[in-house]
Symmetry: C2
Subunit: 332 residues, 2 copies
């Protein structure tokens, strides 16, 4: 089933204002949710909306809170997220990081005590569409074992890289686990094997069996020991810069909240050679696409390229929705 | 065979000064090479020294050149590496990035037109030993196919994350390819299977056969499509920030030179709560280590932990060397 993009925004807006979210904030949050589904990131669009609503109702998310600057030294700033809505907090922090980059060439905002930011890539688009380079990441609850270990002590800590190009934003949005639990579940339900190694089975061996991984709760980090290390480093840096909770400390709470995020932004045209740099970027994107494909008839794509097609289809034909969840939202 | 650490430094120093490198620079370069072997990173210590010497002789490395500031905006600075020695250039840039962080909380130095920086982790240690958080990366020649593609159009672009701790530097130094060609070669020579997927075989399938991967020249990125994307993003960012060559442009040269690197440094005690942050870090390291191990008798380690043991052994018993290469250096 497909729903017009604007209808989606107005339904989310209706629900959020009903829950007491101020109008301007509700509009921006509704927009972020709808854009996520529009761009094909269904897990963090409509599908996640009911949980956001639950978190507002149970007090995990304070609809009125917004980040408060607690400390600043030049281009490095620390904010308290005050348990505000994660998506709006992140949008706010990215705006601040861009302001710092405008002033200092580079800017870094770290926020603690915030909530799940929903679609990580949203804030990459926010920066790169305005011509900035950006790197940002979040920590999470413990949901992945360290390499060589059996129990979840690391987060999957998604990281985003965003670079402007004349062909749209080059956008990479990746978690440190090879597959999310949502993805594992959909493979398990379909009785399909994962395309590549995804976790450890009950015998302690690496496996492509999604059902087994859901039982052992031992998803693999990307690049095995490498992603395990990266997850740890991202967590430590986020907690140190923000002064907030590490993944370990988030794990002490009854549910995933009080997270940390880092937003690093660099001004692309700081040195007045933007057109030359865009030429470089275009040439690299074209070069990567020109690689002969491993599978006949296939084509190599750059990160963010596929999203553009989904977005066009969503805007032309309506946004693809899970009908059950959509009906649920309409009834809220 | 083991050689005293100090002997190693003085031999490297002797060779480099003989080649015309100024004394202070030769001392620092010799130290970096010896420290790399001392810490167990043999590929970028003694084993790489003969190639460094060759590159000095053939003019790829200018022993007298040092980075020149070409542009600066606040905490963001761009340097021309002037084809200087990659390790000394990187050391210089990291010092500048720390100075910027001291002034602005965060500092970013990007350098183009530089050479291979040898051991990436060296510059992470340089920053974290002085109490800074650091992220740095380099681009390389094209040596890895993009995900879904057949020919090398991406670099393996190593990235380093460094965080101080009371137990030594937490140091992650990882390339975007799962295994280096050096590693593949040693597995192929030993007739051993890789521990995990490492590349694509001649039938186009994912394989653990190192020999096959050396033939197809299709090593796998870490996390398959994820590392492929990360490699691309790191390359674009390095070239944009430095104004230097992309991996594609480096590939147009007869050999690997004129690379770009980025050094991002954050002041850990910018907000006066360093001891609290070190407590957080220690608690996380202890927590990760407390994970029950997948293999009986094994233990989970944090990035950089293993290095400390190797370093102690090297300093007590001498640094492990490949005798043939060591003799070669003695004869230089």
């Amino acid at each position: 089933m497909r729903v017009p993009f604007e209808t989606m925004i107005s339904e989310f807006y209706r629900v959020l204002t009903k829950l007491g979210m101020p109008e301007d904030r509700a509009r921006r949050s509704a927009q972020l949710f709808a854009e996520s589904s529009r761009d094909g990131v269904y897990t963090h669009g409509l599908n996640r909306f009911p949980r956001y609503v639950d978190n507002i109702k149970d007090g995990t998310i304070d609809v009125n809170a917004q980040p408060v600057l607690t400390q600043q030294m030049g281009a490095l700033a620390r904010y308290d997220g005050c348990k505000g809505p994660g998506n709006l907090n992140a949008q706010y922090c990215m705006d601040r990081a861009m302001e710092l980059a405008e002033q200092f060439g580079i800017g870094c905002v770290a926020v603690g005590n915030t909530n799940h930011w929903l679609r990580p890539g949203a804030f990459g688009l926010q920066a790169a569409e305005k011509g900035y380079l950006a790197i940002m990441w979040t920590n999470t609850i413990p949901n992945m074992p360290p390499w060589g270990g059996k129990d979840a002590r690391l987060g999957n800590n998604p990281i985003v890289f965003a670079v402007p190009s004349r062909q749209g934003v080059v956008l990479l949005d990746v978690a440190m686990s090879m597959f999310s639990y949502g993805k594992l579940e959909s493979y398990a339900r379909a009785g399909k094997e994962l395309p590549v190694d995804g976790g450890i089975d009950s015998q302690g061996n690496i496996t492509k069996d999604a059902g087994e991984i859901m039982k052992t709760k031992q998803p693999l980090p990307i690049g095995y020991w490498k992603g395990s290390g990266m997850s740890l480093m991202l967590d430590l840096m986020a907690a140190v810069l923000s002064g907030g909770r590490t993944t370990r400390e988030v794990g002490e709470l009854p549910l995933e909240t009080e997270l940390c995020q880092v937003f690093i932004v660099m001004k692309m045209d700081a040195f007045g050679d933007k057109e030359i740099l865009l030429d470089k970027i275009d040439a690299t994107l074209a070069d990567v696409k020109a690689s002969p494909a491993l599978q006949e008839g296939a084509m190599v794509r750059w990160p963010g390229e596929g999203m553009q097609k989904v977005r066009r289809e969503s805007l032309e034909q309506g946004v693809l929705v899970d009908e059950e969840i959509w009906q649920k939202v309409l009834g809220m």
